[in-house]
Amino acid sequence: MTGKRIQAFFLAGVLAGSLLLTACTEAEENNAANESGTEKVQTESAGESVPESEQDTVIVAMSPEAEPESGFDPVYGWGAGEHVHEPLIQSTLTVTDENLEIGYDLATEMECSEDGLTWTVKIRTDAYFSDGEKLTAQDVAFTYNQLRDSSSVNDFTMLESAEAVDESTVVFHMNRPYSIWPYTMAVAGIVPEHAYDETYGQHPIGSGRYLLTQWDQGQQVILDANPDYYGEAPEMERVVIVFMEEDAALAAAMAGQVDVAYTAASYAEQEVPGYSLFSCETVDNRGFNLPAVERQTLEDGTVIGNDFTANVNVRRAINIGIDRQELIDHVLNGHGTPAYSVCDKMPWYYEGSQVEYNLEEAQALLDEAGWKIGEDGIREKNGVKASLEIAYPAGDSVRQAIAADCANQLKELGIDATSRGVGWDEAYTLALSEPLMWGWGAHTPMELYNIYHTNADTGLAEYSPYASETVDEYMDQALEADSLEESYELWKKAQWDGESGITQEGDIPWIWLVNIDHLYFVRDGLEIAPQKLHPHGHGWSIVNNVDQWSWNNQEG
C-alpha cells in the first residue's frame, strides 16, 4: 500500500515537473506583462491623468533589449550606441531627415575648413536645459570631449578636441579629415557640463523634447513633454515605454493595454481587434559574409579564409543564386524588402548593386570556377566537396530561419550547405573562415568603411577577410571630401567605379539578403508620423518623432 502511494506521489511529481517546464515561462511572462505593463501603467494614467488627457498619452511596448543598460547618458551609448536613434531627452547639433540627409537641431550653421581638420558649428542661443541653465557652446564642447574620452560604443577617435570659442560657437579639431561628421553629430545628445557626473544616466538633464519623469528599471520609462523646449511643442504630452518580450507585447495589445506594440513577422498574421499592423521600411539588413581569401592559420592560431569562397565566381554565383523574394515570403511572411547592399536607399547607396535572381547563370559561374556536379548532386573540385556552413547567432529565430532557407537554396546550386547556431563569444572568430548571418544598417556611411575597409594591422577587413586597395582609396577619399554631396559620390564609387568594387561585377565579399520591416501593432486612431528608414535595432527608432504623433478621434 505505502509503496503504491509513494509511487503515485512520485508520478505526480514527475508529471508536474515536466508540465512545469511547459507552463512556467508562460505564466511568468503573463505576470511580467501584468506587472510591467498593465497595472503600473494603468494606475499611472488612471491615477494622474483625467480621461481627456489620454488624448496626449501614448504607451509603447518595446523589447527589453531596447532598455538602455547604462541609462540615458549619450556618453555611454544612449542614442549613439550600437543602435542609433534620436536621444529625445537631449538635443543634438544636427538631425537626419526623412531622406537621411542632414538638417539642423541646435546648430544654425556649420562649416568645414579646406583641409577638413576643423569644423566650426554655430549653435542657437534660445536653448535651455530642463534645470533652467542656458545651453552654451561650452556644454557642447564638454559633451564631445566626454564622448571622445569615454564612449566605448561609438567611434570618436577622429576627434582631437572640441573647443568653445564663444558662447554660441564650437570648434571641433579633428586629427584626420572626416567629411561625414554631421552624421555623428546627429546622434550625440548634448549634456550639461554643470550637472554631469557618473549618475547622469539615471536622472538625465537635457534640452530635448522630453523630460525623463520616471524610470522603473526592467519595466517602464515615462517621458513628459519639456515645457521649455525651444522648438515646436510636442503634441504627445506623455510617452510611456514598457519593456516586454515579443509574445508579452502581443498579449498586451490583445488585452488593449498598450497603444503601440512591437512585433515580429511570425506574429504579424494575428488579428488584434482595434489594432492594425504598422510596417516601417528599414535598412535593418541581414546578410552573410564570404571570406575572400584562401584558408590559412595566423600566428596566433586563428584560422581565417575559406578555400571555397575565396573564388570570386563562387561568391558571384551565391549572390545571384539566392532568391531574396523567396526568403521574404518564407521567413518574413512578406514583411521585408530585398537587400543588395549594407546601405540600401541611403544617399550613399550605389543603385547598381541590385542583382536579379538567376539560377542558370549561377550554375554556369560555378562550372566556370571548376566546381562540377558530382554523382551525389554535390559539386566538387579536385576531390573536395563544395560545402558551406552558415552560422547564425543562437537565439535569433529570424536569422536561424534565413540561414536555413539560404542553405536550402544553396543546395539547389549543388552546394552542401548547412546552418548552425553559435554564441556571440565564438561568432566573430568563426566569421573569419565561415559565413555568419549578420545584421547591420546604420544612418552613417561609416558602416561601409567598417565592413569593407582594411585594418592597418592585418591588411584585411575586420569582420570577414577581404582587401581591395581601390575600395580603400575611395573610402579614404570620401572621408576627406569637402562636402557631403561629394562624399556620397565617392562612397558610391567605393561600391562600384566601373571597374572594381564590392558589387556583383566586383569582388562581392558580402551577400546582402533582406531588409527586415519593423512591425508594430498600432491602436486604431493613433497617427504615427512618417518614419525615416529605421536602422538596425527594433527599438527606439519608432519614437524618434513621437512628438508629432496624434490621436485623430475620440477613443472607444
Partner: protein, 279 residues
C-alpha cells in the same frame, strides 16, 4: 498454498511482460529517433506552421520541420544521454561508496565532504556551471549530469556497505586474512548490486528531465539540434498565437518517456530485490 503460488507466479510473469513492453517502447523511440535524425533537421518552408494532421501528427513549426520526427529524435537523444549519464553516475557512486568504506578514515571523510558539497549546491546551478566549464554542447551536458547525480545514491550505498562491514561474518573473514579486494569482489559487490540497480533506474528519469531542463534554458546545444528542451522553449513563442500543439505534444511525449523509465525502474526493482523477488 498452491493457489497463492499460482498467483505469485502470475505476478512475476505480469511484471516480466510489462518490463519487456516498456523496454520495447523505449528502444523503439531510440531507434526511430536515430533513423529520423536527417528528417528532423530538414526545413521546408512550403509546409510551415501546419496544425497536426495524419501526415504530421505533431504539426510543423515556423521553419516547416516535422515536429513528430523532431520530438522523437529529441527523445531519442534524451534516452541515450540518460542511459549514459545514469550509468556513469551510478558507477561513480558505487565505486566511491566501496572505496570510502574499505580504505582509511581520511578517504571516507573526503568522500563525505564531496557528497555534502555537491548536494549543498543547488542542482541546476551546479549542472550549468559544470557543463559550461566542460565546454557546453553534448559533452558538457553529459559531464554536468554525471557529476551531479551520484551523491544521493553514493550515500545509500555507503550506508549499506557500512552495515555489511559490521556483520560478524565479514569481520571474521577479515580476521581470517581474506584480502580486501577479495572481500569487495565476493561480498560487497553482490550485496550492493540490487541497491545499485534500483538507484540506476531511478536516476534515468532524473537525468532525462535535467537534460530537458538544460536544453530548455539554452545551455548546451545549438538551436537547430532536435532536443526536447529546445523544442519546448521554441514552442513558448507560439502559445500566444494558439499553436498549443507545438508545446503540448512534445511535453506529453517527454512526460510519457519519463514515466516509462520510472515504471521500468519499479518493475526491475521488484525483479531483482531479494525482499520482493519471491513475491
Amino acid at each position: 498454498m498452491r493457489k497463492t503460488g499460482e498467483k505469485e507466479r502470475n505476478r512475476r510473469r505480469e511484471t516480466l511482460v510489462t518490463t519487456a513492453l516498456l523496454v520495447f517502447f523505449l528502444v523503439l523511440i531510440t531507434v526511430l529517433g536515430v533513423y529520423w535524425k536527417e528528417d528532423a533537421l530538414l526545413t521546408d518552408f512550403s509546409r510551415k506552421n501546419l496544425p497536426p494532421s495524419l501526415r504530421y501528427p505533431f504539426g510543423t513549426d515556423f521553419m516547416g520541420r516535422d515536429m513528430f520526427k523532431r520530438t522523437l529524435t529529441g527523445l531519442s537523444m534524451s534516452i541515450r544521454l540518460g542511459v549514459v549519464t545514469a550509468a556513469a553516475s551510478a558507477l561513480l557512486a558505487g565505486a566511491a561508496a566501496v572505496l570510502a568504506v574499505n580504505t582509511n578514515r581520511a578517504v571516507d571523510t573526503l568522500f563525505q565532504g564531496c557528497v555534502d558539497v555537491v548536494m549543498g549546491i543547488p542542482h541546476m546551478l551546479l549542472l550549468i556551471l559544470i557543463s559550461f566549464a566542460c565546454g557546453k554542447g553534448f559533452f558538457g551536458i553529459v559531464m554536468g549530469i554525471t557529476l551531479t547525480h551520484w551523491p544521493s545514491l553514493a550515500r545509500v550505498l555507503r550506508a549499506e556497505a557500512l552495515s555489511l562491514k559490521a556483520k560478524p561474518y565479514m569481520r571474521l573473514a577479515g580476521k581470517l586474512g581474506v584480502t580486501k579486494w577479495a572481500l569487495i569482489k565476493k561480498h560487497y559487490i553482490p550485496h550492493l548490486l540490487p541497491q545499485f540497480f534500483t538507484g540506476l533506474f531511478l536516476l534515468f528519469p532524473q537525468a532525462v528531465l535535467h537534460e530537458a531542463g538544460m536544453t530548455f534554458l539554452g545551455f548546451g546545444l545549438s538551436p537547430e539540434e532536435p532536443a526536447i528542451g529546445i523544442i519546448l522553449s521554441e514552442s513558448m513563442k507560439y502559445l500566444v498565437m494558439g499553436q498549443w500543439w507545438l508545446a503540448v505534444f512534445p511535453g506529453a511525449a517527454l512526460a510519457a518517456t519519463v514515466l516509462m523509465f520510472f515504471g521500468l525502474g519499479q518493475k526491475i526493482c521488484l525483479l531483482i530485490d531479494p525482499a520482493s523477488v519471491q513475491e
